[in-house]
Each structure stands twice: as structure tokens, then as C-alpha cells.
Amino acid sequence: MSIRERLLIRRLRDRDERAFREVVDQHRQSVYNLTLRMLGDAAEAEDVAQEVFITVFKSIDGFRGDAKLSTWIYRIAANQCKNRIKYLARRKSKSRVEYDDDVGRHQSGGVVAAPANLRQPDTQLEGVQLEAMVSEAIASLDEDYRLVVVLRDIEELSYEDICQITGLPEGTVKSRLHRARMALRKKLRNV
């Protein structure tokens, strides 16, 4: 861990508001991407991302510093996502928001886009459709497989980081990843 990161953690422990904002600015994109890919729903993803940062600040005194801060934050995010998936499954809330609506809203800076088939050129339409299909394929994976695929193939983290985040040995991570990729291959065969 770098000296800069140590100082940042110290400031977080001292409840320094500027340090708090620094951490959110540094990690909000990666945390939000992970939660969005894991949950497949923008509103749930935003809510869980907020909970992740609240947990980070509440638990910072317990952070031992034996991993990078980013890895620790990813670990919290992964656990929060798993908990939310279980909670949603229990509630049997299966009403997933149309993914292309989410993409349109965020790409147009918070403004809800018009239906893709009315206004968008063919190439954009294809892109949105492809993204929706890929997102659906990811969402159909078992949550443990989904997590390793998102961390490795979307967030492009190293195996070492993934092992620290998931707490799994490298062999298990690799075999899960291979199975997940093979499952995606089947689902996306005609893309």
C-alpha cells in the first residue's frame, strides 16, 4: 500500500469530509459498474453503491490494510450485491427494468432516451441491442459465476485481486471463470 493511500485511510479514520469525497470520486465508477452488472437494474445498483460507501466509512476503523483499499471496497461491493440478490430473490421481485432504458438514461446524462427503434440510427440500435443481450446473458449466470466474469472480463482485474475480493483460491477462481465463460459462449453464440 502506498504512503498516499495510508494517509488517505488515516484521514478517513479521522472523519475528514474531504477524504470521504476523494474516496467516492475515485471508486464510484468501478463500484457502480460492479453493482449494475451484478444486479442488472440501475435503481438497485445505485442504492447498493450508496450502501457500499456507507459500509466503507462505517468500517474503516476495522480495515487492517493487508489489501489495497480498492480491493477492500470491491469486496464490500461484492458482498453487498450478493446480499441484495438474496434479498430480491426472497421478495421474488423479478421485475427487472429494461436494460436499454438504463443505458439510454445514463448515456444521455440522466434524461430518459426515446425508444431506440424510433430515433436511433441502425448502428446505435445494434449496439444497444447487443448490450442488452450481453447484459441478459450475464444476468442469467449464477451469482458466483457472474461475479468472477464481471471482475475479470469487464473490470479487467488481475487474478490476484479477484482472489482477494472473493476470498477464493486461484484454482477455484479460474475454474469458475472458465465455466462462466463457456456458459456465456453458449448464450451468445449467435451474436
Partner: protein, 148 residues
């Protein structure tokens, strides 16, 4: 005895099991060359590899959806609400008081007082006032004192 089809399946499965490692560049030279040469010869494995590689390509081409710009502000607001505004303020009492430092300081003060008391001839910290004359005996009192 295994049929030719079963053998083929096993061979394909052996190569498919190495797709992830091939994609991640984790095969050693010999194995990498063997897989590559098999892909050149085997149409079924080449198709499977193309599907595999295409699916992972689609994953990595996913747009990074921008995080909501007000995420930080919303988190701050939530924290303030839940902690009643105490979270970011300096804590008045509780685990933020540096008890260790206070104890060391108290010990130091006590040690200084002890040394001062030891150093003073009177056994007290009171500084003698030069304006107050030392007590002296009344005239004739010395004579009046009983002699041993």
C-alpha cells in the same frame, strides 16, 4: 473400447478446457503451440473458439455506464441522516479522546512536581516571600528560655 466419436469428443473437450488459459495468455509455449495447431486443423474446435472469443469480446466491449453524478452527495446525506450529523463532526466524547496521550501527560506532570518538591529545601512548592521577615524572638526571650 472407446469409439472414434468418443475419442473425438474427448480431444475437443481437452482443447476447450484450455480456451480460458489461451485467452488469458497463460498457456506455456508447448501447450500454446499445440492448441493453436489443433485449431488450425479442427473446424469444430475453431468454431467453438470463435464463439468463445466473440462472446468475451462482446463482454469487454460493453459500455461503462456512468455512475450517477450525485452519488457522493446522496451518500453523505444518508450518513448525516443516520448518524444525526455526528459522523463527520469531531467526536466530543468516546473513542476519539486520546486516553494514551492524556495518561502520558499526566505522568509527566506528576514526575515534574515530584522533582521540584525534592529539589526545594523546604519540602514544599511554595516560593519564600522576601518581604515577609523570618520570625525572630522577642527581646529577652532567649534568656527566659530554660537552660538544659
Amino acid at each position: 473400447m472407446a469409439t472414434a466419436d468418443e475419442k473425438d469428443r474427448r480431444v475437443h473437450a481437452w482443447f476447450e478446457a484450455r480456451f480460458s488459459a489461451l485467452r488469458d495468455g497463460e498457456l506455456d509455449g508447448e501447450e500454446h503451440a499445440a492448441v493453436k495447431s489443433h485449431l488450425d486443423e479442427c473446424a469444430a474446435c475453431q468454431t467453438a473458439w470463435d464463439d468463445f472469443d466473440g462472446a468475451l469480446g462482446a463482454l469487454s466491449s460493453l459500455n461503462r455506464t456512468a455512475a450517477p453524478p450525485d452519488l457522493g452527495a446522496t451518500v453523505e446525506e444518508r450518513i448525516r441522516k443516520r448518524s444525526g450529523g455526528r459522523f463527520f463532526g469531531r467526536r466530543g466524547l468516546g473513542d476519539r479522546i486520546p486516553f494514551g496521550w492524556l495518561a502520558a501527560l499526566a505522568f509527566l506532570v506528576l514526575a515534574v512536581i515530584y522533582l521540584l518538591v525534592r529539589a526545594s529545601g523546604s519540602g514544599t512548592l511554595r516560593v519564600p516571600d522576601p518581604q515577609v521577615a523570618p520570625p525572630h524572638l522577642a527581646p529577652g526571650a532567649k534568656e527566659a528560655m530554660p537552660k538544659p
